[in-house]
């Protein structure tokens, strides 16, 4: 933030930065998870395009407003990968209890947050401009909290799995 204030860029840039890093991290995670899924290579290539797009938004967009498009693109992309994961689970199920699999809880967390917050993200600028119904961000924060709870459950499952 100090660097950003030094070069006179406001902290909206941080949101783009976070979105980019988040996308890279999640693509890495899902490419391991969906190793044997068809077309996953094409989807990974598409992700590079998305990253370029997010970078363009970050550079070109006026600094006074938040551009929600990077987060929407990320949300749609991750939601699609989560649905691919569930599709894989339905088509080729393993014969173990899904509730003890860490990957299940991680994907549930991502799907819940990215899938449910799509509409809120789509109308970000409307809410900012209208300066009403501002408590919609509480719903967004709640979804974020739920995602983190699911991630914690996944981490607990992971540590139990490693112990056993």
């Amino acid at each position: 933030m100090l660097i950003l204030s030094g070069v006179k860029i406001n902290n909206i840039f941080l949101i783009y930065l976070l979105t980019g890093f988040e996308l890279i991290f999640l693509i890495k995670y899902f490419s391991n998870l969906l190793e044997n899924v068809r077309w996953i290579g094409s989807w990974k290539s598409l992700a590079i395009l998305f990253l370029l797009l997010i970078s363009t938004f970050a550079i070109k967009h006026p600094q006074a407003y938040i551009n929600p498009n990077p987060q929407i693109i990320e949300g749609l992309y991750i939601t699609f990968l989560c649905l691919l994961f569930f599709n894989k689970e339905l088509k080729h199920p393993k014969y173990t209890n899904i509730l003890i699999e860490p990957s299940f809880w991680f994907v549930v967390g991502f799907l819940f947050y990215y899938g449910c917050s799509l509409l809120i993200l789509l109308s970000t600028n409307y809410f900012f401009e209208a300066e009403k119904f501002i408590y919609v961000w509480n719903i967004h924060n709640l979804l974020y909290l739920i995602k983190n709870i699911f991630l914690i459950v996944g981490l607990i499952c992971l540590s139990r799995l490693q112990k056993s």
Partner: protein, 267 residues
């Protein structure tokens, strides 16, 4: 209209998305549980099918043994006895003939008759059908004791063991195989068999002073050995839904093999 503003529409849309995603997650979990149940059913069905198959194979084996045993006992045995009697009467009628050769033939026939009887008893233990497991095992032990290869003692905690004839025969065969293995491969000179019932279980302990393998060696041999003896024991145990336990140390002075078999059939 009830929903008038776009804010409420977004709120409702988000709620619907939450419900849809929640429903999807619940569906995936229920689907997986159903798949696991189906797989369990399938494995169980395959296991029961395998058991029925093994039971059918063993039944046909036993029937074959029974018919061979009966043939030996009822056809070959009397024939040999008739030849022996003929030779004896010839010996009485012709006092001038070569006694030693005839006597040797009679003795050999005696051995052959005994062998045929023993083989027929091993192939088809009539005592099992007529007098029950205890008596059949006693007969088998006497047979071994007569050979002086090994001394077998028996201990029954229950006078009459309540098993159906098929399970009785299976247990008898397992005991036969284990005792013969202990003598043949373990060089056992003394064996003690103890049979008792505990709740709904029949517990058989075979204590011998020979060499015996450990549980791990038994499992390895089952997987890797070409021999039929152990595989037959395990097949029969599977049919009886029983299990076998060997000692974990092969350097003990006395080895114990323990069989645990449910008294009732599991089908």
């Amino acid at each position: 209209m009830f929903i008038s503003s776009p804010e409420k529409l977004i709120f409702l849309g988000t709620l619907l998305l939450c419900l849809f995603i929640g429903g999807l997650i619940v569906f995936v979990v229920i689907h997986r549980k159903r798949i696991i149940l189906l797989e369990k059913d399938k494995i169980n069905f395959e296991r029961v099918f395998q058991l029925y198959l093994s039971e059918a194979v063993i039944n046909s084996q036993e029937n074959e043994r029974k018919s061979i045993g009966n043939e030996l006992h009822d056809e070959v045995g009397p024939l040999l006895t008739a030849v022996q009697l003929g030779l004896r009467s010839y010996l009485n009628r012709e006092p001038n003939c070569n006694h030693s050769e005839i006597k040797s033939a009679i003795n050999n026939l005696d051995l052959a008759i005994n062998q045929v009887r023993n083989i027929s008893h091993i192939l088809h233990p009539a005592a099992l059908e007529n007098f029950g497991l205890n008596h059949a095992i006693e007969d088998f032990c006497n047979l071994i004791n007569n050979t002086s290869a090994c001394k077998i003692s028996l201990g029954f905690d229950d006078y009459q063991i309540d098993l159906d004839p098929f399970r009785m025969l299976m247990l008898y065969r397992i005991l036969q195989e284990l005792v013969i293995n202990a003598i043949k491969h373990g060089n056992a000179k003394s064996i003690h068999i103890n049979i008792k019932t505990e709740n709904d279980l029949l517990i058989v302990n075979i204590l011998h002073n020979g060499i015996c393998f450990t549980m791990q060696e038994y499992l390895d041999l089952l997987k890797n050995s070409d021999g039929l003896g152990l595989k037959n024991i395990q097949h029969r145990l599977n049919i009886l839904n029983g299990n076998i336990a060997y000692a974990d140390n092969r350097n003990l002075a006395n080895q114990i093999i323990e069989l645990r078999i449910p008294l009732a059939s599991n089908f």
